[in-house]
Amino acid sequence: MIRIDELAGRTGEWLRGTGPENDIVISSRIRLARNVAERPFLTVASHKVKAELEAQIRTGLESVNLGPGRLYVSLKDASPVDRQFLMERHLISRDLLNGEGDRGVAIANEETVAIMVNEEDHLRIQVLRSGLQLEEAWREIDRIDDEIAAKLPYAFHAQFGYLTACPTNAGTGMRISVLLHLPALVMTRQIDKVFQALSRINFSVRGLYGEGTQASGNFYQISNQATLGKAETQLITELANVVPEIVKFERHCREKLAKEQKTNLEDRVYRAAGTLRFARSISTEETMELLSSLRLGSHLSLLPDIEPRVINELFISTQPGHLQKHEGRPLSPQERDLARAGFIRGRLGGRV
């Protein structure tokens, strides 16, 4: 068993930027919503029942192989900074962060596996992989799901499938999300076209931190909407088929920018690098914007001295929870802006 502080000193596998199509596809994620049979859903569960459920599920998970380096965090006991930190790393949802009562998350295998306990459903199982690796993620989550089912019988219905608190998740209980970085589609104003096409074929588009969040840093999450009526593998194939089309379109726009607006593009990238390397105070929003330009420049070979992995990590490690975890104390927003600028200078080798 490891501790939460040990996570802060390193990055999850999914952030390394090593997976297929990693210039555009940041990560592939699959989530399964499950409820334990014969227990009320959390919508009506009392504090006593929630406590019982958390204990029952923790015990059940103990004998399930989630991979090496296991950690269980009780959200009820965690500090506000730790909760924020876990959400920024995509290990818990905002709903679990803001929830109340007994609830937690089991994390394992370099943060590629995260199981939320007592979120909207009793279990929310997540497998995260870097780049476009949906089939790999499915194989892993399918195995984990089977192992859990052997310990904790699920609420399952012959016709409706896995029963969830919200009818939008019923059936497979599966949400597949691919996180994409699409700066060139935004700059060339093609992004709306992509969104319209995606919504016509029933995919939803959201920001970096999911529901209701802004698409800061030109990051977009594409997910399936329907969870019932199609097999898991079919849902995965449908998304896996559409992603390469978007990737191709983004690459085409990047090439076009590099060819037709070379000076503009270079100016944008190097100005971003200059600000990030020398700024003394910088907000999260400005950081996301500039890092997005930096990331684009890096993949267009304009910044040979900066590793793509360092840029990927900065998107997460400059978030408020991460900065406070790094500094080891709560910081006011002004203090955070100073700490953020200092942290970025350190990572990008700003010499002044």
């Binding site: 009320p40 009506v44 009562g101 909207e120 399952f156 016709q159 409706f160 919200c166 009818p167 497979t172």
Partner: protein
């Protein structure tokens, strides 16, 4: 619009509330004055514009104030009412899927475009049922526990994200209702279920009004 004295020309017993003017090339061919019952029997109401039907039911409702409320459905296990579910778009337990089955099927169809799970099944879980089979019982209907009806009010406070999702689902439900309830209204009128029809008519009107103010 109705002249109080005029009686239904078919039954000669009830006051005429339906007044039809059949036209042929701008010329009045035939004027008819019927009561609701006879008009419905002759299939005339069904052919009319819904606005006219609603108007009709408005008159009816005034006469029949205090009509019995349609009963809400309550899940015996978790204790939530169908109206609770409609408001929050969250089930209280697995059994709700069967207790509110009729509504659930329509809702799932609207959300997912499907009502049958075809994906993985836990080992030993019941096999998929053919569509003609009788509705299956929940594989895992929770028994009444200490967390039953008594704790139904101890709901988890929804965060912002949850609320947004709920709104979406509630919207989906509303969209469904307006579209299909008008058909149901017609059926009720034909079946002479005027009390229920009047209630439904008001419901449709409220929904439309809400939708308009939103837009």
């Amino acid at each position: 619009m109705a002249s109080q004295q005029k009686m239904c020309e078919t039954c000669q017993e009830s006051p005429a509330t339906v007044h039809l003017t059949e036209m042929s090339q701008q010329q009045v061919v035939l004027e008819r004055h019927l009561c609701d019952t006879c008009a419905a029997k002759q299939g005339l109401i069904g052919k009319m514009q819904m606005s006219l039907v609603a108007e009709l039911l408005g008159n009816l409702k005034d006469k029949q104030k205090g009509a019995a409320k349609e009963p809400d459905i309550r899940c015996p296990d978790c204790g939530i009412l169908y109206s609770d579910f409609r408001g929050k778009a969250r089930f209280g337990c697995a059994r709700d899927y069967d207790v509110f089955r009729k509504h659930v099927v329509a809702l799932l169809e609207k959300i997912h475009g499907a009502t049958e799970h075809v994906g993985k099944r836990p080992k030993g879980a019941p096999k998929a049922v053919p569509k003609t089979a009788t509705p299956p019982k929940a594989a895992a209907a929770p028994k009444a526990t200490a967390a039953g009806p008594a704790t139904a009010t101890a709901a988890v406070k929804p965060s912002k994200g949850t609320e947004e999702k709920s709104k979406e689902v509630v919207e989906v439900m509303k969209a469904k209702t307006v579209a299909t309830l008008e058909k149901e209204l017609e059926k009720l009128i034909k079946a002479e279920e005027y009390e229920k029809a009047a209630k439904l008519r008001d419901q449709i009107r409220d929904m439309k009004a809400k939708k308009e103010t939103k837009e």
